[in-house]
């Protein structure tokens, strides 16, 4: 491998500046056919939901897109004539910017510490960050409500006692804008961490060292070398963050209503999920179109940032080798900071969740009075719950298939769009990314309509199809950022050295993309483990999965013992993802070790 590396470096130097198009999956000159194949898949899985979204927005009232009730712009008139729409957009912007800012700051520092420094416990922290993504945001928010509710929140009770206050409420209130931003920022930071970790991991330390040699301090090198090189990645993170926060409804649902701070996503959710009435799909789709337009504008901004992608290629043939900063005296303060974040973001909600699993009935706050009644009966109830084992088996199948297919498709789209750099490639990229702007309920409805008459309807395969759309937008961004960083010099050099396409892929490209592939896979897996929308809308008696079970226990039937059983299920989900993340992280390290 070292020999090949040297050859690569020499060859790359020998052919400076030569640009190649789509050299890896050249596939015997059939790359346009590959374009068309990917385009066809996207047309089916992305185009159809888009058509459904547009049609639904043009149908009146509660009509479904296929109902023959005529087309009307009435939903658009209603939305744009209503002053509350603009308040909603303003609130959404404040919420999205605040949450994205907090999450980027946390994720950036954590990713740098884990990927670019010699901080101890890096792998454990990495796995913990990933495992936390298995926790549904609703569950995390519930944990924070129990910690920071004005009246019953543990922190507030302790603070009141500490301050000798006789007040019944406060001083902190999770039901507020800052509460929403705080919980969302903490909850979304692991996703951003994944995106940034992959980028930092692949960054060539020689560039920073050059900066240091030229007289820059460590911080100066980070500011003037590392951060500018991360521009496309950070652009991706911010664009994607804003986009998903326009749609993410869990935290706004749990906190925004009580806080009196409704946002766009909450409006869409409430329109599509009423308790006792018919969903208002027309209005929801119109708001979805609004989100889509905002998303496309964000995408255009992103393309402007990365229009000269080669500027950001840091993995070249010239002796690429990631290096780690030595933290020196800052080692243990940095470790303490990272652990403090984990405690705050994951530890405390998990602890409170674990406490909930010990309840014999409805949740009660931690106190000495409750101790005698605690037990592990919730776990026994969970294992005895009808369909639990079937749900576990189905979930494993669905999650593995969905994650693998999504990552494969997204990688192809990313490769074609970044390397071909044609308008068609960009269209593929925008199309794949636009899935992030389609409300989950609408895309699931589209899948239901397309496949209802096929044999896969009602099976676990329909869930795979439904979930494929859900993760494509994010993973395309993640893989685009990764592909952007790899210079084509490497493939060309390998080819000049006599390697065939498959060997170039296996020995050069795959190891370099591996961190991003693993991160993407884990992200999709963790999110689909808890994807309620698809699991419920496409549910049948034959395709029960853990997500539908969790929703059944947690959100719609939080009576008595069900909440502790749901908490037990959430704890087991986190444990399972922690194990998978640790194994995959170990594998990535080994492959990268061989590459180095």
């Amino acid at each position: 491998m070292a020999l090949i590396g040297r050859r690569l470096a020499l060859t790359a130097q020998a052919v400076p500046g030569r640009r190649s198009r789509l050299s890896l999956p050249r596939l015997a000159g059939k790359t346009p056919a590959l374009h068309l194949a990917v385009a066809s898949v996207l047309a089916l899985f992305v185009g159809a939901p888009l058509v459904v979204l547009i049609l639904t927005s043009l149908r009146p009232g509660a009509a479904l897109p296929f109902e023959d009730v005529g087309l009307t712009p009435s939903n658009y008139l209603t939305v744009f004539a209503d002053p509350s729409t603009y308040r909603l957009l303003g609130a959404t912007l404040v919420y999205a910017i605040g949450s994205t800012g907090l999450a980027v700051a946390i994720a950036g520092v954590m990713a740098f510490l884990v990927e670019r420094t010699n901080m101890p416990l890096r792998n454990g922290i990495y796995s913990a960050m990933l495992a936390s993504m298995a926790l549904p945001p609703l569950v995390i928010t519930f944990g924070w409500v129990l910690l920071l509710d004005q009246r019953i929140g543990l922190f507030n009770v302790w603070l009141r006692n500490l301050l000798g206050s006789r007040a019944q409420e406060g001083p902190l209130d999770i039901y507020s804008l800052w509460g929403m931003v705080f919980v969302t920022g903490l909850a979304i930071a692991p996703t951003f961490f994944l995106m940034l970790a992959g980028l930092l991991r692949r960054m060539d330390g020689a560039l920073e060292e050059a900066g240091r040699t030229a007289g820059a301090s460590a911080l100066g090198a980070i500011r003037r070398v590392t951060l500018p090189l991360l521009t496309p990645g950070l652009g991706s993170v911010v664009v994607y963050g804003m986009l998903i926060l326009i749609q993410a409804f869990e935290v706004p649902l749990a906190l925004g209503v009580t806080a009196g701070f409704p946002v766009l996503s909450l409006r869409i959710y409430i329109l599509t999920q009423p308790d006792m009435t018919v969903p208002r799909y027309g209005l929801a789709a119109t708001f979805g179109m609004l989100a889509l337009v905002i998303g496309i504008l964000l995408m255009l901004g992103y393309y402007r940032i990365v229009r000269v992608a080669t500027r950001f290629q840091v993995i070249t043939g010239k002796g690429y080798r990631p290096r780690r900063f030595s933290l020196g005296r800052a080692t243990y303060p940095a470790l303490a900071g990272a652990l403090a974040y984990l405690l705050l973001a994951i530890g405390l909600p998990l602890l409170i969740l674990f406490w909930a699993t010990l309840m014999p009935g409805d949740y009660q706050p931690p106190s000495l009075d409750v101790l005698p009644s605690l037990g592990l009966s919730s776990y026994a109830r969970l294992f005895a719950y009808p369909k639990f084992l079937e749900a576990v088996v189905n979930t494993v199948i669905v999650v593995v298939l969905t994650s693998t297919t999504t990552v494969l498709l997204a990688t192809l789209v990313a490769w074609l769009s970044v390397r071909s750099r044609t308008a068609f490639g960009k269209v593929l990229d925008v199309t794949a990314f636009s899935t992030a702007a389609i409300p989950g309920i609408v895309s699931t409805l589209a899948v239901m309509m397309i496949f209802v008459a096929t044999p896969i309807y009602g099976t676990i395969w329909i869930l795979v199809v439904g979930m494929l759309i859900g993760g494509l937008g994010f993973v395309t961004r993640l893989m685009s950022a990764a592909v952007t960083q790899i210079s084509h010099e490497l493939e060309e050099a390998a080819r000049v050295s006599g390697a065939r396409s498959l060997m170039v892929f296996r020995r050069v490209i795959f190891p370099l993309l591996l961190p991003a592939l693993v991160n993407s896979w884990l992200w999709v897996a963790s999110h689909h483990m808890r994807n309620f929308t698809v699991a419920l809308m496409l549910a049948s008696t034959r395709n029960v999965v853990i997500a539908s079970l969790l929703w059944e226990l947690w959100s719609r039937g939080s009576r008595g013992t069900q909440i502790s059983t749901a908490a037990a299920l959430a704890i087991l989900m986190v444990a399972a993802l922690l194990a998978v993340a640790t194994v995959l992280r170990g594998y990535t390290e080994r492959v990268e070790g061989r590459l180095a």
């Binding site: 015997a28 059939k30 346009p32 056919a33 068309l36 194949a37 066809s40 047309a43 089916l44 185009g47 159809a48 058509v51 509660a62 479904l64 897109p65 296929f66 509350s84 308040r87 129990l146 009246r151 019953i152 649902l253 749990a254 209503v257 009580t258 009196g260 909450l266 409006r267 409430i270 999920q273 009423p274 308790d275 006792m276 009435t277 018919v278 799909y281 009935g361 409805d362 949740y363 706050p365 239901m448 309509m449 209802v452 008459a453 309807y457 009602g458 419920l536 809308m537 549910a539 049948s540 008696t541 029960v544 929703w551 059944e552 226990l553 719609r556 039937g557 939080s558 009576r559 008595g560």
Partner: protein, 376 residues
Amino acid sequence: MTLGSKTGLNRRTFLRIVSTGAAALCLASCGGQATTAPSTGAAADKVPSFEEVLDAAKQEGTVEMWTDRPDIQALYQEAFNKRLSTNIKVTGFNLRAGEAATRLITEARGGKPTGDLLQPSYDIALDIERSKLFPDPYPWVEVFGKEFPAIKDSVEHIKVPIFKGRAPTMRDVLYHGVYRTDMIKPQELPKTFEALGEPQYKGKVAFDNRGTPLEYLVIVPGWNEQRIIDLARNIKANAPRFFPGSQQVRDAVVNGQAVLSAAGDVTEAKQQGQPVDNYYLDPTPVNTLLATVPKTAPHPNAARLFAVWVSLEGPRLLEEKKIEYRESLWQKDLVTTKALYANRPDAKVYYFETPEQVTTSNAVRDKLAGILTGTG
């Protein structure tokens, strides 16, 4: 982009790919024509006997029920089969009534119906009716009256004329409140909805962000849209804590986040020793749910048999097992029905009686959500 030898793709292949994509898009956008559902015997000339329905149900062997309480299906299945000496499998999963209706309509359009039994409220039933999937009139009393004499009361409990004789009652959604017994005394509780706007309840009430159940007051004589909106504004001025949904409102009181609410049921929590209880507000509006066997039901006989049983004996079973459920007010001997009248001997209970009331109630709900929390 041109197609030629450089692409490695011939025109025929290209057209095949494009036509496949176009067909998929067309299918997505147009859907299939609505499948005409087979008549499930509703308009049959001959009234079937109970034994014939029972035999047919045994043959069908399954009922798929879409409800928000799939956790009690196993309990239902055991008791139902024991009662009728059958071996019918009761399956299903968790779908809200609105989602269930959407799914029913979509599946019918795709020609692949799977749902046998739904429990829509009147407004969702109207939507199912518009899609021509609500069942035709059926001789419920003639078929099941001998085995289940109370079926007559259950069917007659449906007050809205267009639904009469087409479905039995699944249950009543009666909007009472819940409160923390350690934070407020029973005599200090509000007695009317209007009292929720009084100063002594400031900051203490958990309330549904959509205003439920205020929209149901349209069925009470003397109440109209303006009076309900004025009440909502008064309640909002009293700084309630809004939560998204009646379940969350109920949980907020059980967790101690609020002192009382205007919705929820804490029968189970009370039995577990939690300091909570139900209380009643006047007037008491009721939203009735219909045990609906759609025209497309794959197992119509098993579904009707189960619908009758669950309508009449289901509530009693849940009461015996101490499981929270909504009341069935036409069954006067149920503990919960007795509790209502014992708690409030003068309780005034009102039901929907016309489709117009249903439509008005929906319109008011939209306005309430906007007024209260801007989420309408």
